[in-house]
Every structure is written in structure tokens, then in C-alpha cells.
């Protein structure tokens, strides 16, 4: 297990370095001179020179990359050109919205998908199964930001159960904060829950056809016991893969859906960064998102080994 974890961790580090190189390459090299790019065509040479100095563009590419990457490791993302504050400050405030939203949605989708998928698999072919499969088919087809609009229409405008948008903040208590993230989280979770429930169902059905289920039944386990004690854990392996993939979809989805609910998350920061050509903000936020995806995939890899002893290597 230790060896496996170490190998996965090394692979995480390699991917992280490679990803940061890609981001650095795209943002700082492809546009030519980032300073004149950020200031636009009509900028005075003096201003450009000043910005170049501020951005530390004088050094070689290698040293610039090392400065940037080294800075990020200690939480220094540079200064935003438009906001005139350290990017870290901007990010810290906004990540408190986006990341909890993505995890909230992940939790919701898993909490919905597991029982639904299990029910469908254990009553394969029944009316219930057909109903579940039909509604998940629909759930997958719904664009989450559009579904978010419908939710606003019904629960905020119509029933007035929730605010139509905005974020109450975490200072007034966790529940208040969670409440303002609930509609967005539901909108995000519906698609992912549908996918996950289908994967869960088909993984379970595959597993239920395996020889070891017959062995379990021959031991005297009921159909239900064979499912919960033997099939479920084996079916988790493909399900985990999907959960890992889903996190990146949810993070991207969270950024898009912030628009519908006027949430002050990373989405707004990054879209403003794009329109104002604030490359430093874009670069940092992108790197942060990529970092989150890579870390979650690492965690999923570790979870694999917890579920499947074949991945652990005996010491």
C-alpha cells in the first residue's frame, strides 16, 4: 500500500509539473510579450516597460518559470494587474464559494446515485428499473446551467423557497451559506447523479453475473446479501473512476453555473480576468483548477487501492 501510494504520489508530482509547464507556455510565451498583450495596442512604451518590470519579465524563461512555480508553492501567485492586489487574496475569497459548491454537488450526486443505481440493478427489468433508467437518460441530456435557470424560475421566483441568487457568505453560519449553494448544487448534481446511477447499475449487473456471486449464493446468501456483501464492493471500482472524472466536470460546471446565481466565485474572477486581459489572474486560477483536478484524481487512485487489494503490493 505504501509503495502504491508513493508511486501514485510521484506520478501526481510529475503531472503537476507538466501541467504547470503547459499553462506557463500558453500564457507567458504564446502571446509574445505578456506586458504589451495585457496593455493592448495603444499602450505607451513607458507603461509597458513599467509593467514588464512589475511582472518580472526581464529574466530568462527558465528563471521566470522557476520564480512563478516556486512562488505558487508558498502561496504567492503574483499581483493582479487590474485589481492591484495579490492574486492570492482574490482567490482565497472566491475559492470559498467554488470549491464547496463542487464538493456539495459531488456529495449530493453520490448520495442520490448510490441508492438509485442499487435499486435499479437489484430489480432489473422491473417498472422501477425502467422508470429510473428513463429519468437518468433525461437527466444526462439536461445542460446544468439551463436546469439551474428552471430551478430559479420554480423555487426562487415561483415558490420563493430560496433566494434567486447571490451568496450569503459563511460568516452567518454554515447552514446559511449552504442554503445559498443548494439550488446551484442541485442543478449540478442532477446530471452527474444520472450518469453515476447508470454506471452503478451496469457495474452491479456485470458483477452480479460473475462466478463469485454464484459461489456466494451456493453458500446460502440471499440475492440481497450477495449484492450488498459481494457485488457492491466490486462494483465500486468502475464507479470510483467516474467519480474522479466527475469532479472535473463539476468544477467546470460550478464555474459556469455561478453566472446563473450571481455567485462571487472563481468563475466571475476568471471571466473578468479574460475580458481585462489580466493574464496573471487567468494563469493562477487555471493552475489552481488543474491542481484541484489532479489532487482529486490522486485521492481516487488511493481509494482504488483501499477497495481493491490486487492493487496493493504486499510488503
Amino acid at each position: 500500500m505504501l509503495r502504491y501510494t508513493l508511486v501514485r504520489f510521484l506520478s501526481l508530482c510529475v503531472t503537476l509539473v507538466a501541467a504547470s509547464l503547459v499553462v506557463f507556455l500558453v500564457v507567458e510565451i504564446i502571446p509574445g510579450d505578456p506586458a504589451s498583450f495585457m496593455l493592448g495596442l495603444n499602450a505607451e512604451p513607458d507603461t509597458v516597460a513599467a509593467l514588464r518590470k512589475e511582472l518580472g519579465l526581464s529574466g530568462s524563461l527558465g528563471s521566470r518559470y522557476l520564480d512563478w512555480a516556486g512562488g505558487m508553492m508558498v502561496g504567492d501567485f503574483g499581483r493582479s494587474y487590474t485589481y492591484r492586489v495579490p492574486v492570492a487574496e482574490l482567490v482565497v475569497a472566491r475559492i470559498q464559494v467554488s470549491l464547496p459548491l463542487a464538493f456539495y454537488a459531488l456529495l449530493l450526486s453520490t448520495a442520490i446515485a448510490f441508492p438509485v443505481g442499487i435499486m435499479a440493478a437489484s430489480r432489473r427489468g422491473s417498472i422501477l428499473d425502467i422508470g429510473i433508467m428513463g429519468s437518468t437518460q433525461l437527466g444526462i441530456a439536461v445542460p446544468n446551467f439551463w436546469f439551474a435557470m428552471l430551478l430559479v424560475l420554480v423555487f426562487a421566483v415561483g415558490l420563493r423557497w430560496f433566494a434567486a441568487g447571490g451568496f450569503a457568505g459563511w460568516d452567518q453560519g454554515v447552514l446559511v451559506g449552504l442554503k445559498s449553494l443548494t439550488l446551484p448544487a442541485i442543478a449540478l448534481a442532477v446530471t452527474q447523479a444520472s450518469i453515476l446511477a447508470r454506471v452503478m447499475r451496469s457495474a452491479l449487473i456485470d458483477t452480479l453475473g460473475q462466478d463469485f456471486i454464484r459461489t456466494a449464493r451456493a453458500k446460502g446468501l440471499t440475492r440481497r446479501q450477495a449484492l450488498t456483501r459481494h457485488a457492491l464492493r466490486n462494483a465500486l471500482i468502475p464507479v470510483l473512476t467516474i467519480i474522479g472524472l466527475q469532479f472535473s466536470f463539476l468544477l467546470a460546471g460550478a464555474i459556469i453555473i455561478e453566472n446563473v446565481f450571481f455567485l462571487p466565485g472563481l468563475g466571475r474572477l476568471i471571466f473578468q480576468g479574460i475580458t481585462q486581459r489580466d493574464l496573471i489572474v487567468v494563469e493562477s486560477v487555471v493552475m489552481l483548477l488543474v491542481f484541484a483536478v489532479i489532487v482529486v484524481n490522486f485521492l481516487v487512485d488511493i481509494a482504488y487501492a483501499l477497495v481493491d487489494p490486487r492493487l496493493r503490493i504486499r510488503q
Partner: protein, 533 residues
Amino acid sequence: MNLLEVSQLDLAIHGTPVLESVSFAIEHGKTFGLVGESGSGKSLTALSLVNLLPPGSVRAGNGRLLDQDLFALDESQLCSVRGREIGMIFQEPMTALNPVQSIGDQVAETLIVHGACSRSEARNQACSKLERVELPPERFPPGMFPHELSGGQRQRVCIALAIALQPKLLIADEPTTALDVSTQAQILALLRSLVEHDGMSLMLITHDLAVVADMADTVAVMESGRIVEAAPTEQLFRNMRHAYTRRLLKASFHKPRRGRLNALHDQPLLRVENAVRSYRLPKSRLFSSAETLRAVNGVSFSLDRGESVGLVGESGCGKTTLTRAILGLDPLQGGQISLGGRPVLAGRKMSRSLRRRMQVVFQDPYGSFNPRHKVDRLVAEPLHLGDQSTNSARRREIVAQALEEVGLTGDDMKKYIHEFSGGQRQRIAIARALVTRPDLVVLDEAVSALDVSMRARILDLLAGLQVKHGLSYLFVSHDLTVVRVITDRVLVMYAGQIMEHGKTEDVFRNPRHSYTRQLLDAAPCIPRSWMQG
């Protein structure tokens, strides 16, 4: 008094009858053998008893276990019969265990689901059950997982969990078919001791007449869903009443008539000299250096033109690795192989003209063909080794001729492979091997997946083709009986080395090496005295 009595068992799956009025009885503490070829319904008979049938099955008849009417039980009552009164083990030990649960837990579960004892007590019991099947806790702690065990060891775990509650009846469905001869002998000995010492009755389902002769007190023979003949074992073998039983026995000892070829001994066709091939094993520790396994460790032999040589050994002995090197699929790390005096090299380094002199027939009649191509394209594939000038009309002619030689017709060319039976597919594989007019055909377990009657016919075909085309065969197999009837010389391989080689009959009659003796002793056989007349 009988332990189990089944009468007039009928079974239909989705309306198709698969079992018809099957009746038999099993006595206390006795072994009942049920033999038949694949598809005869022997497994379904066993599954009918505990109602673990595939969906769409309709069952009728009577089944009594002591005073219990098995067919009248509801699902929850059946759950308490399964595992407690009837234990079951199946053919494929590699997949029969839950890969993510430790072996101890899987054995303990039988005790726990039937409420036989507490969880902690069950763990202790599991250890003693594993010890009963000769997996002592010092070497096989209950925390081990199935993937850490060999096939034979896994089958022992399956037996342990099936007998954990001392069931009255143990059903073993082809329990040793997937195992090597020596492992088979050990598992059969274990099953025998369970019957003798633990007072269980055993229902042994197999396709192998020798296994039932060795094990069973009474035998029933099944053919397409019916029991055609049943009798005490010795009586059945001495006095076979039904034609099918006789056919089955004849087929399993079938000796193809082999014409004599004038083997040319001046220059060997195939020469293997000091062949070495090793694999790197996965590292056991993070920073330790990787260990290597010498799968083929200094093997030398030669094969003459027109000769048939058998290469026998159990799984893991290195025969597959050696075969792949001979076929030029993998490179050697030491030594050399030559065909007709020219070196055999891996991959594209070997010239086409040399490659076409050697062809192969594999074991699996299902995996050996690309399902998307028609038979003409499948059979013609090796022709690409020949002259580029072969036009399509000539190609068709060659393919048609090859198909006719193996007992099919030219019209079969336009069919897809799924339209053929297992035996026909092996014929097509042979046709494919013949189109380049090779000198050497490697038969890699080529008849191992076939039922005995089909196997007999394919062996006849191979013997005929050998004379007709002056072929040399390298017959790679784990099955000693087959090798004995089709080869002139035999090589016995163990742990990467040739332990013994010599004329086939000599080796079988007077094995010199202890491993060969062990191998021959392990193979179950029908007593000679039973088969007189």
C-alpha cells in the same frame, strides 16, 4: 437409505427443454459420478437441486434430500439449505472467489450467514476449515486475498467454504478441469478424504471417464439432457449397455491410425539449442532490485522431418514461452533456434520464406479467428507470406482445397466464423495452417478444448494430413493421453528445463525421471481389468 433422490426432473429454459426425466439417487457417504460431454445438462442438473438456475428456467419433478422436499422449498428455506446441507464447488477457481475479500472472511461468511456462530468465533473456525483443506494458517493466513493464491489453492478455499458447515452433500461441478494433473490428483484426494472421514456424500460432475472411474461408487452417463445409463462404477465399465457410453469410452482412448513416414534423419528440421528466456518479476519491495524468472532455462532438442514430437508439462513449466520463441513471436535471450538450418528470429527479422515453413494451431476455437472476417480471408491470411503474385482466383482455389482437405467444403468460404461449431473451427484453424504448405505445424493444446468424440476425429484428421503432406508436428499439451497416441517422441518439461525425453512409448512405460513418474501417477486412469472385452 438414500440421502438424495431425484426423479423425473424436467427443465426447460425459455421454453427449450434441456433436461428430460432425469432420475438418480445418492447414498449416504458415497460418491456419485455424473459424466457427459459439454452441453449434456450435467451442470444444470446440479443447479436444479438448489434452484440456482438461469432466468427463464422452468423446473418440474421431484427432489428429496432425506425427508425434505427440495422442490417445494421457498427461496428463504432454500437459502438455509444451500451451504448448510448442500455445499457446492465449481469449475473455475480463478473467478469463483470474491477478489476483494480475504479468504478467511469468505470461509467465515458461510458460518455467519447460517448463524452457526459469532463473528469472532467464525474467524477461528475459518482457520481450522482452511487447515482441513490443507491450507495451514502459518503459510496461508486468513487475511490473504485470492489473487495471492494459485488455482489449486483457490479451489481448496472454495472447498473450505463449501464444507464449513459439514453439509450432507457436496456437489463438485468439474472441480479439477481447470487444473493441472498433479493439482487435480491432490484436489481429488482431498475430496475423497472428505467422503471417507467426514461422512459427506459427493456428487462429482465431470466430462472425464477416468476421474469417475477413480472416484465414484456409482456412475450415471448423460447425453443431451437424459441419463442414458447408470450403474455401480465397476459394473458400468465392465458391461456398458448403452451405445453412447461405449462411444464415449472409445473416443477417450482413441488412437488415430498413423501411417509411417520415412523420417529423414540426416538433418533435423527444427533445432533448439540451449534456449534461454527469462522474465523480470514485479518488485517485491520498493527499492529492491527486480528478480528474474528463467521461464526457459537451457532447453535443447531437435525435431526431424516427418516426425511428431510431444512437449508436455504443467502450467508454468515454460512450454508456452518456449513455443512462442519457436514460432518467432518472442526473442530468446540465449541460445538459438533454427528451422531447416536457418535461424528463427523474433518479429519481422525473420524472412517470409522461412516463416511460411512453420504454422500454428491454437487451443481456443473461439479466440483463434477474427470474427469480422469471412472464412476465405481467415484461411488465406498466411498466404501473404508467399509470392505477392498470388491472384484472387488462385487464392480462392488454394483456400477451397485446404478446406476440403480438412473435411469442410469450398462453400464454407463465404461464412463467418460464428456459424461453425468448436470442432469445425479447429478444422478451419488447421486449414489456415496448411495453406502455405509448411514443414512444421505447432499444435498448441490444439485439441484440449474439445469434447472427446470431437477430439478423436481431429486427431484422425491430423494423422492423415501428416502422411499426406509429410508434415512434422510439435504437439504442445498438458494432456498426457493425447500426447501418447499422436507422437513419436516426447519431451517432459518442468521448471524451464527438459527433464526427460525419449520415444513416447518408452517414456510412458518406463519413466526414468521422478517428475515424469509423478506426472504419470497423478493422472487418473480406468483399471485395465475393467476394460477387457
